[in-house]
Subunit: 313 residues, 2 copies
């Protein structure tokens, strides 16, 4: 029986490890589940930033210069929209629009987000299943000193400026894990669940906090491990460290592990955090290079994580 | 009291005269009403080709090389959509998409097509009101030997290949003229109604056949005149001549005038059709250059049509 792996991913950072895993595992060995808490309806289109970041990364179409979106992107649509007085705070590239238009059309025709995502990612030649955490809407709300903000208003429009007080996830109490996610959890060959280096509060929690999911993960024979998104007190990308400071949590990989708590059977930290090793108590640790600048880095970290999972009790 | 004019226009051909009229008349003197029978919902977007052809022509943004769409257009969206296996038979430029997305969003928010069109055209600096014939849906169906086809399937997807048997206009029995169109008809200053050189069957009839409109036009003090879209037995653009042949009507300007019948108080034909003058019976005629290759041609024809309308009884 071939070992299978389940990766839980947020956006760009998580997608790097997901694409590393996709490179070193064979088709049938990997399921990638992406956060849908960032999804929103904008200009009449359903935008799913984390699914798309993973899709573009897995297809090798991600824009390395921008750090988000598609390679070779152009912005003619946005320029024209601006002339019409349309909303321009959320950038939509001309190529990227094709995903949003086609997804919105398919959803309106009654397809599930799982089916749409499968169709779109297969069309780009992605062999490993990339799926949403849920087919039901889950919407991350950032509770801030400026009031509750939908995630994209906080993240893109307001550039993460308002200080964070907490988070909640509209719809999550009625959300079920998507069918392929459920199948991966039930797969007797499941060898590990890998939480990618994504923001614990706004990328991973909107997955983990679905009813019963943490209990399900704890009850698995397979270990659950996470790669720290915090290295040397900084988030590689995004507002995780800023959020931790505002929540009065130290911005450290130690605090990330404590946040995940007894869900974790193992944790992967960067070599830059070697000095923190003593602070992790009994949690099995892998200390390795976690900063992924190219395909070799992504594959190397993926191999290390897989190897580590096999050594856990 | 300043004379006012009402222009009824189809797509590109009609838009040429409409933009000529816009160039020679002052704001407040001209209302342009465009056909909505070509409108359709595609990829979840409301596409209004004739409104957009007029809008781009009036804003000076029309693509003279292509003969349709916007200047400096790019096609990144379509290329990406093709990769996703989306429907690509109807070309949507990256800039052009902004109109469709913003219009669809505004319609979904409850604005009328009139209000949306006004907002979009004003944003492009268009001073004369450009309005849809109706805020209610009217959809041209082309009856062909291959069965009934929606207009864009006939025109774009099937490239006008199926032989035409007739036409009908879904929704027209419940369609009212749009508010600005109604106001123009009731304006005591109205000096002429000008039917632009557009296809009588699929561009003008979906306007004229709204309940009671022809009677209303006949009862006006102002004359109704039309510019022939057929010159020397050919349509300047589009399938009008092919349709006439398939309907066993001679493809001549004479047949166009006969088709409009007693609605017309005057008719404008091209100098190339001078030899046909005797065939128009009592209908007052203006014979002039009607082929518009540039802004000067458009303004010259507009002036000639306005002058002619002032000489009619």
């Amino acid at each position: 029986m071939t070992a299978t792996y389940l990766a839980l991913s947020g956006g760009v950072g998580g997608a790097k490890l997901a694409s590393g895993l996709a490179a070193v595992l064979r088709p049938g060995q990997l399921t990638i589940v992406a956060n849908v808490g960032d999804d929103f309806d904008h200009l009449g289109l359903r935008i799913c930033p984390d699914l798309d970041s993973n899709m573009y990364a897995l297809a090798g179409l991600n824009n390395e210069e921008l750090g988000w979106g598609r390679q070779g992107e152009t912005w003619q649509f946005m320029a024209a929209l601006k002339d019409f007085g349309g909303e321009t705070w959320f950038n939509l590239g001309d190529q990227d629009l094709a995903v949003h238009v086609e997804r919105t059309r398919r959803l309106a025709a009654g397809e599930s987000l799982s089916d749409v995502t499968q169709a779109l990612s297969r069309a780009l030649g992605i062999t490993h299943p990339l799926q949403p955490a849920s087919d039901e809407p889950i919407r991350t709300i950032v509770e801030t000193e400026a009031g509750d903000l939908s995630f994209q208003h906080y993240f893109v429009r307001d550039q993460c400026a308002p200080a964070v007080l907490g988070f909640h996830f509209d719809g999550i109490d009625n959300a079920n894990v998507s069918p392929v996610f459920a199948a991966a959890l039930s797969d007797p060959s499941l060898a590990a669940v890998i939480i990618c280096p994504s923001n614990p509060f706004v990328s991973v929690d909107p997955i983990l906090r679905m009813p019963g999911l943490c209990d399900r993960l704890r009850s698995l024979d397979a270990p659950v491990l996470a790669v720290s998104p915090i290295v040397a007190g900084q988030a590689i990308k995004g507002p995780a460290a800023k959020m931790m400071a505002e929540l009065n949590v130290p911005a450290t990989s130690v605090a990330v592990a404590e946040y995940y708590g007894d869900l974790l059977d193992g944790f992967i930290i960067d070599v830059q955090d070697t000095g923190l090793v003593d602070q992790f108590a009994e949690l099995p640790l892998l200390v390795t290079e976690t900063i992924m600048k190219n395909a070799d880095d992504r594959a190397a970290l993926a191999r290390s994580v897989i190897d580590f999972s096999g050594r856990l009790p």
